[in-house]
């Protein structure tokens, strides 16, 4: 397992509204394309792990990244969504892919 100890506390707490970065990626990445640029709510801080984007290339995966579970309304993700408006999708997203959506700042 790639659990790691972080020097800093998690940047986001449950309930925070976040935006998934819309940036591109090359190679191994655990942020699905369908979530990029989407706004969701942090459900939980799952833990802190070495960065899989770096581990995949035999790097130490540092600095470690907090991993969050983020909840997105299905009707936001899929324009033609035919289910209920309360249907949600939850996914794990690393901190280096999340921006605060409360201020709209890009990082």
């Amino acid at each position: 397992m790639t659990t790691a100890t972080a020097n800093l506390p998690p940047r986001f707490t449950p309930g925070t509204i976040v935006r998934v970065s819309g940036r591109g990626s090359i190679g191994h990445c655990r942020t699905p394309h369908y979530l990029r640029g989407q706004i969701g709510e942090v459900v939980s801080v799952e833990g802190c792990f070495r960065d899989p984007e770096r581990i995949a290339y035999n790097r130490p995966g540092l600095p470690p990244q907090y991993l969050y579970r983020v909840r997105f309304p299905q009707t936001d993700l899929w324009p033609a969504y035919g289910g209920d408006a309360t249907d949600m999708l939850e996914a794990n997203v690393y901190e280096n892919w999340l921006e605060s959506a409360d201020t709209g700042t890009q990082e």
Binding site: F49, R69, G83, T86
Partner: protein, 213 residues
Amino acid sequence: MSTTHDHGRDHDHAPISDGDSPVSKHEVLETALRELLIEKGVITAEQVHAQIDTMESRNPGLGAKIVARAWSDPGFRARLIAEPRATIESAFGIDMWKVAELVVLENTDDLHHVVVCTLCSCYPRMVLGPPPAWYKSTAYRARVVRDPRGVLEEFGVDLPAATKLRVVDSTADMRFLVIPVRPDGTDGMDEAALAGLVTRDSMIGTGSAKQPV
């Protein structure tokens, strides 16, 4: 199946392969890498076989026992949700491996979880064993996020409109195990009988537990 295979290299071990279906580019890559690692002495064929044996030693029977105990013992259920790894390791005396962390999600009459890995095939192997073929298919992975209620219907799960739905995409280091709703009419049943009602699909969220006969 012969006990040796010939790929022009000077060693002798049973072939390691998934079967006799046409070989994909990725399988060729995996085979080449594995054979080189073995040839260079980084790993041994015995280690690869032992790892396959370990992974395939787990099966949905273990998950069913965990669910049956969670249904029977509210204290266990609370500990299971709060501390899945430690609770399962101490209650069942098994090694939960260290490749990923487990999260336990509880289905209720009001809330239904269904699990997918859209990026690949992440699955709670430590409690369910290897995933079914459909779980790894691009059809399931693509469709269950776009049309979860439709896909659940195809699996025979007719979700009432009032039931809240959460699709959980295992994108990273967490693996998700669903505790299905305990069927009605099971009040007097012991854990072993209850475990018999817990299907693999009900622990992925693509099914419900069986009704008692």
